[in-house]
Symmetry: C2
Subunit: 569 residues, 2 copies
């Protein structure tokens, strides 16, 4: 049975989910629900430990020059001590182009079948191994590493295949065409071929490597392109496991494993610009900092670029039926993985008159204080804090927290000062409780950009209209992926929906309860809109795949008289 | 009846044609077959003459600053004497953004209905007016101005609407989503909105204004974006008629006519860069020179760019069943509109041993000579020449012909020297017969770029393999839209299909007979592939539309208990 046939049923369910956008996933949402969870967890941990013990992560890719690695676990603040092969870039590109020839000519259903098998392999053989790798590089909690970096990233990968298939199916493979020219008839046999753009370079980020990289890799590979993965030097292991798994499945399926290779660098000798400016680079997928992201967007031509950088995600708090519930949800979402997610809210815009509730107006100052209290309640108990805040991925984020705290004490009102908390399981973990400050639009320079990490701003606005205007302007101008609104007024909700649609941020309204506000459901929620500076990698739409291939046709006269052809005057 | 309902049947036939890629068009392919042709021709000519008489082309768009115009008819070499309104750019952008708000929120079926009505209006009320405008600016022949710049451009416009609809239909407008989180169920109502990217700037070119511009305008407008048309200063009238027709139909349909405006400039004070760098520009459609096109591609970010520049279209002549027929077709296609088409062949690669035919090998020199003879046969009779060569759009092309002729006489073997021919109807027409030269790969610098106009190179190659290698390398590296092959060897044809697929040029094989080799059939032939430097504006595929809009969602808890929602664990 072909891989396509093997995974057909699942693929069709995914297609249906993408079309209808209902809730669906083939995967259990919690680690404990994984089949034979105890064994899987143990095997995964063992595989991770063996990487540490071995100290060398072998990938049999071409052009290996030296072995490097500089990862430090945010949980132990100790070096992982794993070295990875660094290849000559030209060798990787050359091997990728060689590998592409056969892959490009393989029917896309076959490619998609093989890639569904890769997804299955990652799920069955590597999920918990990746989980520990993500924990000890990105610093995520156990549960988030399972859900966000594991099964949800696999779901988003299947989605990419669904859209790739949809885009490629729109191109008929052949046609008979006939027309009268003057007195004679011309009948042509036409064939249309999906031709990949060329070598794709996929940059994965430090804090959430798999979630963006896996779908990008799938989108490129499904449309026939080879992929060179460029992990952030702080977070290599999850992508090294990924690359190895892809290579094994591709090889077992009879394809050249050099369709997927890894290009690693170090913080002192970065290779990002070399990769983007390489003459063979045809596609760039980039997740990372705004600064480098902007360079990528401006310099990637002639390669096509799919980017997710960052922005200031906004909250407008106008009125609510249940202020405590709203603040609880906001606080939870602001704390989740110490706000090191591209979807974490950062700027909270509140009218200076306060927020209307069923029991009357609650003043601006009180709302700010109660929100800070809600955050504190979540973070003051180390055990609770460890589950929600997890760790701080980079020491640069700690430095930023320090710097912003100093600025805050001079320019704004500090609602919460950041401080390390003692992780119950990892006493040396790099941690911090959030910094929250109360500001006015005079401090716009402080909050009009992403401040990566647990940093948030409660912004005093003139009124509800002003709050909405400022929030949507900031999102439009400085980028923003997500937006959150609490309002009991239908007219204001409608205004907000229109304003955020123009600003290009995904809006969540009046959500309270067990779901984190920034939870993005695969097959249902779209990602970056491409309508503001936060990037254009929507992941789950046609635009994410159509630029990765071209259509080349070949036409020639029909040689045998084909009586089914009729002249068309 | 809505416009959508009115045009539904035609639209569905177009959808079917795009899917199956068979021959279809709602339009008669020749002027004489147009309904009540005599009257239509007369009315169209009269409308054109009135533009000349009036001397001022009125468009009631905002911010008009001055009236300018510098068009010269290639048929009379006299100034047309028509002035057009030049508006302040900021006024156009502002008006476009105002106009966009309602248009963006209009269901896309309604937008597509209105645009189908625009197409119908152009066909019914302006086709012959546009024809004369194209003749006396671009310099095309009567028949080409009807077919290529008229009905075929309308067909390509319908195609753009088909793909826009397909891309937007892939986004469901709403969904009910529910999932269990821990012990509670979260049910969300989600709405998904197609949000246009913003103001589109559409550059039309001097020699073929409508063919690229109409589909681009349709693609942008269908997906909700307003369009500012920037015509080449030499060829304004066809686009001015276009803009006015769009505005009239939009206004009559109850929409703001400022969805379509025109930004005109002069050769001495160009505004192209200002338009592309305008902060409100979100989409750029560009057809024009390689030089400016490369600047556009490199500088349009954050706008998305769809380009068609140029390249050296290649011919490989290896073997043939009927050399005379092949050379006749080649000659015709090389002469068509004096090779001022983006699809005109320029470089003819032939093995030095010659071409195999049923009667034996024909030497390289003889093939070159017979091809030159075939061209001469088509162009030595002024009446025949006028129908096929038409005129030379720009005096710069005459200058290039002169310069290349001088180089050719020094460096290569001149097969045909260019000379003006006397147009039977327009004695002052700017005309030239083709320049053909025979070269070796030593003259690669001469033919490794587009030499716009009736200039071609017969290139002596080592052998068939070398001819194919060189031809496909030149297309890949220097750009190429079309490619032509004559070979009786199936193995060589297969090699060529693979090589040209990689090079990204649309291949036509062994075509002889009444159809020009570079005839591109709407609904069937794809345009630029995006796989080489000739551009990425395929026109007739999903990639041409998906980048013109984003998807913004809004989600909120389902307020009334909806029993149809089932928890999904």
């Amino acid at each position: 049975m072909s891989f396509y046939a093997k995974h057909k049923e699942r693929f069709e369910l995914a297609q249906e989910a993408c079309a209808k956008r209902h809730c669906w996933s083939p995967y259990p949402d919690m680690p404990d629900k994984y089949p034979d969870a105890a064994t899987a967890k143990q095997t995964g941990k063992l595989a991770f430990d063996q990487h540490l013990t071995r100290g060398k992560f072998d990938i049999d890719q071409p052009g290996i020059n030296q072995w490097i690695g500089e990862e430090v676990s945010p949980y132990t603040q100790q070096a992982l001590g794993i070295l990875y092969p660094q290849s000559h870039l030209d060798a990787l590109f050359q091997a990728a182009e060689v590998a592409m020839t056969t892959w490009a000519q393989t029917p896309y259903e076959v490619r998609i079948g093989v890639l569904m098998e890769v997804i299955d392999t990652l799920y069955k053989d590597h999920l918990f191994e990746v989980l520990h790798a993500v924990m000890h590089t990105a610093g995520q909690s156990y549960n988030m590493a399972y859900a966000g970096s594991g099964v949800n990233a696999l779901d988003r990968s299947i989605e990419a295949l669904v859209y790739a298939e949809q885009a490629m199916k729109s191109v008929t493979p052949s046609a008979l065409w006939s027309r009268r020219f003057g007195s004679s008839n011309i009948a042509l046999q036409k064939t249309y071929r999906i031709v990949p753009k060329g070598v794709a370079v996929c940059f994965s980020c430090a804090s959430f490597p798999t979630w963006n990289a896996w779908p990008s890799m799938m989108a490129s590979l499904a449309t026939g392109n080879p992929v060179i993965v460029k992990p952030h030097p702080a977070t290599v292991l999850p992508m090294a496991i990924t690359v190895k798994a892809f290579r094994q499945v591709l090889k077992a399926a009879g394809f050249d494993p050099n369709l997927v290779t890894m290009a690693i660098d170090s913080t002192t000798e970065p290779i990002g610009k070399l990769l983007i400016k390489h003459p063979k680079t045809a596609i760039v997928d980039f997740t990372g900092s705004v600064k480098f992201g902007q360079w990528v967007e401006q310099n990637s031509h002639p390669a096509v670029a799919f980017t997710e950088t960052a922005g200031c995600n906004t909250v407008v708090l106008e009125s609510t039926d249940d202020l405590d519930a709203a603040l609880r949800n906001l606080a939870t979402t602001m704390c989740l993985f110490s706000a090191q997610m591209c979807t974490s809210p950062q700027n909270i815009y509140i009218p200076q008159a306060g927020v209307q509730t069923p029991t009357g107006w609650v003043s601006f100052d009180e709302v700010a204080k109660r929100l800070a209290d809600a955050v504190q309640a979540l973070t003051s108990d180390p055990k609770k804090a460890s589950m929600i805040l997890a760790t701080i991925q980079s020491h640069q984020t700690l430095a930023l927290l320090k710097d912003m705290s100093e600025q805050a004490s001079q320019r704004g009102h500090v609602l919460l000062s950041p401080t390390a908390y003692a992780h119950p399981d990892f006493p040396d973990a790099r941690t911090s409780t959030p910094l929250m400050m109360q500001v006015t639009p005079h401090e716009h320079d402080m909050y009009s950009q992403e401040r990566f990490g647990p940093i948030s701003f409660v912004i005093r606005c003139k009124d509800a209209h002003d709050a909405l205007t400022q929030a949507t302007q900031d999102a439009k101008q400085h980028g923003g992926l997500t937006a959150f609104l609490y309002s009991t007024r239908e007219d204001f909700i409608e205004q907000a929906e229109n304003a955020y649609a123009k600003a290009g941020a995904q809006l969540t309204i009046n959500l309270v309860g067990a779901m984190p506000l920034n939870f993005a459901a695969a097959y249902s929620d779209y990602h970056v809109t491409g309508l503001n500076p936060a990037g254009n990698a929507t992941l789950t739409n046609l635009a994410f795949v159509t630029g990765r291939f071209g259509v080349v046709q070949s036409r020639r006269p029909v040689t045998t008289a084909d009586t089914t052809l009729s002249a068309n005057a």
